[in-house]
Symmetry: C2
Subunit: 259 residues, 2 copies
DNA sequence: GAGCCGTCCG
DNA sequence: CGGACGGCTC
């Protein structure tokens, strides 16, 4: 079973890349972030023709999270609550059961600037993810994958220059602590678990200043797994080839293989 | 000698199409309309690498006319006057000598709606083209080509449905008279001169409502020639293949061959 | 429908 | 830099 996560930076702007990528890699499940469209503009039909079921939690302009799956999807939650509509909530979280596994696609707030209102919202959002969501709905014994763009670089080795990124919105101790709190639920970073020695591996590179060509990136996209799945994780790949395509997203997809 | 005219609907949005088209057709001269950029953003270098000299009269956002030539270019006029800068004038007219021929690239105002201020400007513009420009600077005995997007369909056979287009901004008797006045200088439509029987041949099709696929177009782009050149005109082709490419301009190029 | 631009956001 | 979008033109 191949599970992927990819911040596509607008699904409508990424259609060609997405379709080609799905055909090449044939993942069973894909968690998508930053689709940036309302439900009506989501490419439901086209994805179905490529053999994917989709569930989507969208809003106008910003955010938007989806789960694509070759297998039937059930038990879908949108946002922090499954009760009623979500008009007041940013579309950053969607969850579904695929086969025997709970899949969560998360787009953690960027945080704008340390100390800003948006930064406080980011911290609060991560706290809610742990305490209102994981703790309430799930248990660490479940087969559960928390996938997405977390906008946090866990360690200094996860940014290309720790001086440049010192105390930034993705490295500040407060967001690292908030992420640790989430993982303390009983989750591990599949990539780092399998490859503790792999440094200078990133998942996001700025479009400008030739960020990608000189590998000035940060690792902020993850597939986190509970113990039952960590033990069966065979490989995790950051697909830098996709980032090197024409008209790429600024994020690379991550693909984890289980069993 | 191959001379072409093409309303590219933004030269920057049409770079790939333009470069491929130049390589395929290798025209000696190309008159361009609606480049839609200031001089600094015109692709001078790239065109030079493709062996074309360029002269350009641009403005921000709208209009913009160019002449590209494989042969050296001299005696360039921008706008209705060659005196001083043209800050107050829309960039709709450029003229240059290539070999022994005067080439004029013209983008006649669209006219918005019959009776509007813009419609009056269109009529005035065509009158100035004849009386302030052709009559003053040139003679019908010269080897002269007036090329461009005239936003006028001379005859009912030049629109796909004469009822739909009846009394429109491109068929109204006032604009047809204004165009006739220009041609009375001593110019003939090379296409209609060579092929009086060819109907349902158009140069512009609306992007929407599947205009091109059902050939719902209008013929508003022309290569007009003075007598010395009319006699040596061997062929005129409306390049509908280019209009059928991906990401096309809404106008097709016209290519005339002389000698 | 598809260019342009300015403004917002990451 | 490159998304989205609204307002503009054709």
């Amino acid at each position: 079973m191949k599970v992927a996560t990819w911040n596509v930076n607008s699904i409508r702007a990424r259609l060609n890349n997405l379709y080609a990528w799905l055909k090449t890699h044939q993942p069973d499940v894909v968690c998508i972030q930053e689709s940036k469209c309302v439900d009506q503009l989501f490419p439901w039909k086209e994805l179905r023709l490529l053999n994917y079921h989709s569930v989507y939690f969208g809003q106008p302009k910003y955010n938007g999270v989806a789960i694509l799956s070759k297998h039937p999807i059930s038990s879908v939650y949108k946002g922090f609550t499954n009760l009623g509509p979500h008009e007041d909530e940013q579309a950053r979280l969607i969850s579904a059961k695929v086969l025997d596994t709970r899949i969560i696609s998360a787009y953690v707030p960027n945080g704008h600037a340390v100390g800003s209102d948006k930064f406080a919202y980011k911290l609060k959002w991560l706290k809610r993810l742990r305490e209102e969501y994981l703790d309430t709905l799930h248990s660490p014994e479940e087969r559960l994958l928390l996938c997405g763009d977390f906008n946090v670089a866990p360690e200094d080795e996860d940014v290309w220059d720790s001086d440049v990124w010192h105390n930034s919105i993705i490295t500040h101790h407060s967001v690292r602590n908030a992420l640790t709190h989430v993982l303390d639920f009983g989750l591990q970073d599949t990539f780092r678990h399998l490859y503790p020695e792999r440094t200078q591996r990133y998942s996001w590179w700025d479009y400008s200043r030739s960020g990608f060509s000189s590998n000035k990136g940060v690792r902020i996209d993850f597939i986190f797994a509970t113990q039952p799945l960590i033990d069966s994780c065979q490989d995790v790949v950051i697909d830098t080839e996709e980032r090197a395509q024409t008209k790429p997203s600024d994020h690379a997809p991550i693909i984890a293989t289980f069993e």
